[in-house]
Amino acid sequence: MSAVRIINGRVLDPANGESGTVRDVVIDGGRIVDAKGFTGATETIDARGGVVMAGAIDIHSHIAGGKSNITRLLMVEEQRANREPAGDFCGCGGGLSTMTAHATGCRYAEMGYTAVFEPAMVAANARHMHAEMKDIPFLDTGGYVVLGNDDFLLDLISSGAGQQAVNDYVAWQLAATKAMAVKIVNPGGINAFKFNQRRLDLDEANPHYEITPRTILTTLIKAVTELGLAHPIHLHGCNLGVPGNEDTTLATIAATEGLPLHMTHVQFHSYGTEGDKKFSSGAAKIAEAVNANPNISIDVGQVMFGQTVTASADLMSQHRNRGIASPKRWIGMDMEMDAACGIVPFVYKEKSFVNALQWAIGLELFLLVEDPWRIFLTTDHPNGAPFTTYPHLIRLLMDKDFRDEHFARLPKAVRKHSIVGELKREYTLEEIAIVTRAAPAKILGFKDRGHLGAGAVGDVVIYRDDPDREAMFTKADYVLKNGQVIVKDGEIVSIAYGQTHQVAPDFDSGIETKLDRWFDEAMGFKAKTFKIADDEIRDGQGAVTHATTRSA
């Protein structure tokens, strides 16, 4: 591949302190090199009038695995209505909230995304997720392994095996499932639901193990901190969607005692109980707590109006939500002493008080959390909306008039209960570059992504500087993947594949003996069958193991 020189573009690279410098960006051998020092032959791309950014990174989007397949199964009408158009780069799939693997890569790439992470890889289903990711073009990927409801772990904690044993187990799971980080979904709650408990608060004990979500959370926070993982615990907290859960969320922030924690789709965890409808915005309180606690980062999980499908490992919550399924069908599944899943199709309606307020709560969070390095742009695809709504969301954040226009359409009762109309903040382009590039790279521990300095991967995007920010971010002028032009004028022009990222901190092999026995007795098959081998990831090509700052 020949080198590429991008000239005349305004370079927006917040990680390196560049906010619109006009300079060349040169990619050679798939990496960005020092433009001034490079003298070799290049293909030249003229980015005059355009903005040059690193490839965007989505830290939380449900793109692969068993629950994605269940969404496709349930949403057959959507699949029929959205077919990929025939052409040289067609994968013959389709979908929108339930996009197929090839379509997922294409639609993300057209918007300028080059890395996307699946945030809920149930360990028992890890092999499936990895197989599916192999068929997603363009994107670097990885999965966060779901822990905190697995019977082996709860047994370890409740039997007093100690922090070191937990750390060893967490490290073993990361290696066995080839995971990038640890996700907790409703700590202990999914497990409690298997014992027929319907709700579980932060300080309520699991009916069998008699340990609380707080204990599970703090033990796992300690584990990833001691293992030296770059990404903190990625937490889907207790009481998702329950009015009044703002208190749980605030208590969870306090429970961290200053240790790093990433709280995901916080919009769904920012609900109060004020007003006639006993449903109100807790965004201001949550944002205040986030602002005051630098150890906390959040992604929003913005809701957009229209049909989507909600897919979660949180069967406790999804069983509670089954009555609001639209269309009227839903699937739940308990999974392998590990976790669960619940899939509920749903339509967010602009005229619904609750749905419209959810929309407003998401925006309030975006506008009230001050530090763009600690808030991430997500819709929790597909739970709040398909990821294809990101450009619209970006315009809502950058353009107050546009936002006010949409806010004005909401029911009066919602406008009375939200401060969106009073918020003057407009995100700058630089802040968009932070929340979609620089900050995601930082929180995942990537030194060579999310920026345009020498040594970074050659994932580079050129957008035309369109005052309509939605149009600007819908279709990039150019997207380069490892220096290869994959998108031109918003259209796919060539195929490339990314890599799968993982971490593998050391662990004491004593844990293996325990797990061998656990698998033989409890699981009914062998631990060695469970463990994923290197050659299973993208046929042995394309797994990247990241160093962790400390080993077990």
Binding site: A64, G66, S68, N69, R72, L73, L74, V76, Q79, R80, R83, E84, A86, G87, C90, G91, C92, G93, G94, G95, T98, T100, H102, V122, A124, N125, A126, R127, H128, A131, E132, D135, D151, F193, K194, F195, N196, H208, H319, K328, R329, I331, G332, M333, D334, M335, E336, M337, D338, I343, A522, M523, G524, F525, K526, K528, T529, A533, D535, E536
Partner: protein
Amino acid sequence: MAETTSHDVVCPFCGIGCDDVTLTVDGAAVTAAEGTCGRAAELFARSGAPAPSARIAGRDVSFEEAVAEAAKRLGASKTIAYAGLGTDVDGVRAVLKLAAKTGGSVDHYASEGMFRNLASSQRKGWVATTFAEVRNRCDLFVVVGPDPSKAYHRVYERVLPATGRFVEGPRRVVFLGGAPTEDAKSQLEGLNVEIIATPEGGLVDALSQLSALVAGSNPPGASSEIKALAEALKAARYGVLAWSAASLDDDGDLVIERAVSVVDTLNVTTRAACLPLSGKDNLTGAYHATLWNIGFPLRVGFRDGVSDHDQTAYATANAVKQADLVVWTSAFRPELPPASSAAVIALSHPDTVFNIEPDVFIPVGQPGLDHQGLAFRADSVVGLPLRRHRDAGLKSVADVVTLISEARA
């Protein structure tokens, strides 16, 4: 070559996913050690005779000639039915890619039962579970219809050992409208096994009554045994209704719908789940790979580079009637292509004895013996890593299909 023994080999055939098979390999000859279930031992066993040659119309030809002929026939055909699909996930991927280029329909030969399940799961949904959950939690296991162990040989040994981690006292197993085989009885020794017989064709009625009873009404005609079962399910901590959709009768759709409804109601007050079994020869993997690549659960059709889904028209039985070419893949066992008037390209198990000689025959390797690959367990969630244990010079379905695709003009 010296004899080698592989332990803890993963079995890919029925979908239970046993991983305690011992294979002895001597050259191309394969023997499965004692302890392997009879069906798997039979399917793993190979005589050691060299793989047969590829053939065109019964005449031995080189592999390259067969590939060229297959490519030529694809180009000359108007309507192609891709059938069989007994292959690993890579094989399924390759067939889907080829079908997208040539047009045609794609289905798995054992998908009939799966579509009975989908009639409920896709339209209304269900609460399902997996082997390890049943193994540890299930205190009342109801087998709906015929004994699934006829197809899933070691199923009880896997999901219902005598004790379960969270089960107090002995488990109860109820056969509703079916009866355990002798072998099933021995797997279930030590458990409380009961049989509730239903009259011929009466399984739907029995489940309708059960569904009404657990919901609190009193349906006419319910036997005392059904009433007792309803009470037991309501009192159970984790009741499971299991079935093998492929072995249900023509009213299987309704049987499943009623069973799903029983579980749905139970979950309002206690915990319960369905264990729908369907998965021979990586049917489950073919279903998954088709869903994530195409967006539909098998029975897909491709025309002009766009895909579509029709559970009737693209079912193999109907598709072969319209087709002028059938591309048959069966790498796990010597299964025969469906009878039709279409020409046949068979990418088949080397021991296949055809009733009607296919127009092109290319022997392929078995995933989990001749090459590595991925298959899925019959409970849908767990992927099975299949490894290579011998070299008999047989290529994978994925490799052969890719070569045929590349040879197209």
